[in-house]
Symmetry: C2
DNA sequence: TAGCAATTTGACCGTTCGGTCAATCCGGGC
DNA sequence: GCCCGGATTGACCGAACGGTCAAATTGCTA
């Protein structure tokens, strides 16, 4: 019975990557040391460099998993049947669900986008995803200009992701947990309300 | 003739703070060393610790200047005369102008908000500002719920600030400079278009 | 010109960083 | 029992970090 020769071996690399995931998301890339990651994973620091070539490589692996999950969530929501407007609403729901499940990802992606040092990674992973979203939006808002897909992409994306990046501060300003079910539902209804208002006005021939 | 005894002395601390400003905004707090700051300011590293008690203190000074300018820009725009809707539009214009002039501030503020380590600073500087904005919004959208000031605050704020945090990536995805005058104007019209649509629907008694 | 205080400097400190390496551990096939 | 290759370890490296300090410089007043 030729068993897999590495039942716990893959699990070790996974544990390291999971530990890195949580720490990177919580305090950012620079503020986390490889020692921190190894400690949290319960392994020797040198083992991190056995399974990953460098700290930057480990970071890329963490990001790639998120990017791929992000892309799959949006694509499956948008590519199913229904009117363009229905598919847009479904895509926004999928984006909200994905962010609610991976709240820490919002911080990582904002860090990535705004840091010029990591732009090769952004170009490889995020830019194609965002080109695809902009294309999807152009199905419901075909015209260029202030109401066109270029601006709507930033707006729709910000409506969702900004809520999660603001969440730590909102928890202090409000008296309720912004990531709890009631507030998430309120946000969801808010975003859909806006999307419908914008699409209504665009169908009406504006602006 | 009793001159000021420090014509270039204040300028030294200012040069250090300006150098720190640019570097912190460009690559973030952790990725900048005190040596980098001193080199860019053209002074000895020890001089940084003569004028500021620590690297963290220097960072706070940089942030405070932005927070204060941010607060003044919004307050003067909103507190002048006009209907609530006019004042809301003016406030958004002031926010856009402020961000266009201090594009790097958007990155710093997002970093601050999403990093739990710096929450004492956020509580002291940002939270009061954001409480004030939410109160201002409640003048034009008094009702709670999905169309209420709580959600509108996140939305309006994100409509503006997210454009600037995304700018480095948008410059790669689009073929035009998102911070150039034409695209900034397109964004401005886009945001005002949305604000009017939302306020129209709220006045109509929704949602 | 002497003296004093504020400013500026270079040399230095202990710590932590990312990364390397030889040595050890361990389970499966002969 | 032995060996072998992948997995794991502790010890170690040079570099860079934030921060300190005594000494030197500067500019003003007497």
């Amino acid at each position: 019975m030729p068993k897999k020769k590495a039942p716990p071996k893959e699990a070790t690399a996974d544990r390291i990557r999971d530990a890195a995931d949580e720490l990177f998301c919580r305090v950012g890339y620079d503020a986390v040391s490889v020692r921190d990651i190894a400690d949290r994973a319960g392994v020797n620091k040198a083992l991190v460099f056995y399974h990953f070539t460098s700290k930057a490589d480990l970071f890329e692996r963490v990001l790639e998993r998120y990017y791929e999950a992000h892309r799959r969530a949006l694509a499956s929501a948008f590519e199913a049947e229904g009117s363009p407007r229905e598919r847009m609403h479904r895509m926004i729901d999928a984006y909200l669900d994905f962010m609610a499940e991976n709240a820490r990802y919002a911080v990582l992606v904002q860090q990535q986008i705004s840091n010029p040092e990591t732009h090769p990674l952004v170009e490889k992973n995020l830019a194609p995803l965002y080109r695809w979203i902009e294309h999807a939006i152009s199905e419901v808002a075909p015209h260029a200009g202030p109401g066109g897909p270029r601006q709507l992409f930033v707006t729709f994306s910000g409506l969702v992701i900004n809520y999660f990046t603001y969440a730590p501060m909102l928890a202090r300003v409000w008296d309720r947990d912004p990531l709890g079910a009631p507030m998430l539902e309120e946000r969801r209804r808010h975003v859909h309300w806006i999307v419908d208002l914008l699409l209504d006005d665009i169908e009406r021939g504006a602006p």
